[in-house]
Symmetry: C2
Subunit: 199 residues, 2 copies
Amino acid sequence: MAEYIESLQNLADQFGKLGGVGRKSAMRMAFSVLDMTPEDAGAFAQAIIDAKEKIHLCPVCMNLTDRELCPVCDDETRDRSTICVVSDARTVMAMEKVREYRGMYHVLHGALSPLNGVTPDKLRIKELLARLEDDAVKEVIVATNADVEGEATAMYISRLLGPLGIKVTRLAYGISVGTDIEAADEVTLYRALQGRRDI
Amino acid sequence: MAEYIESLQNLADQFGKLGGVGRKSAMRMAFSVLDMTPEDAGAFAQAIIDAKEKIHLCPVCMNLTDRELCPVCDDETRDRSTICVVSDARTVMAMEKVREYRGMYHVLHGALSPLNGVTPDKLRIKELLARLEDDAVKEVIVATNADVEGEATAMYISRLLGPLGIKVTRLAYGISVGTDIEAADEVTLYRALQGRRDI
């Protein structure tokens, strides 16, 4: 049936291309569009075009922005002696929500995975090194994920920056706040033990 | 952070307007769009415009279509003596997937809910009555949902069509195939008992 309503099926297929959207959800979204007013549907289509056209990488930190610099690099009050290295722009968003970190960021756009062809030259590492030539940077916090690729990336960066005399740190891993200790997985518990602190 | 990247936040807001899409999923989808090529993003935007512009109601059965008639009404081989009355076009799609039903459809575009202002004149009931003036129709199968609104709609249609000498039937309700009987809810079990058949 749906396959006969070509423009509906086509729209559902487009939604299905988005990450994490299954076939049924995609069709539900396509129907939602049909329920919109023509103006709302037009605004939706325009938002897609706008986002794609306007958003580019910040030339300093490689974060996403629709202005010249990203909001962090553009903010004169941020602490330029610390750079937090992340895999993607989503992590920057998550960090910024905490409102605790006042330093800068550097977005690598991926994590090392040689088997999948992601070698160091595929990541924005040379842009990071260029930023470190300026003596202002005292500490690099590596905030890549705790999976194999994230760990490999953290290790690679730490070895690269060690000789430069810059302090390289890693986010603490441990039991999530609000999680019962008995419910934590072995790896998390192991990390929590390793990272135990005096009280 | 995201709120500073205005075009990204705007796109996420647009995805958030779709039924059943939460704030986090909407942002994930907006990022998916950024990962697309400009051509793919353009095709996505165009699919929204196309669907909205091309899809209209079939003048006979009120189902969605992007041609003159919907595929069912346009199909000469379908049995014009039976009309299956449904609340929305999604139900037509579900029924067509079974490939068992060979009759026609009529889409009401809603179910009776006087408290929410959905009175019979808000549904496509007069269009249904107009179709029944043709003597060809022998049976009307009411396939509205088993909730209060769907039941009220089924009852209303059955009382309306009774005097016209047309057979009005309702889909069987019972235990879903593949569900354990012990896991069925009380209402389903009650309906299954009421609808029991000789074996």
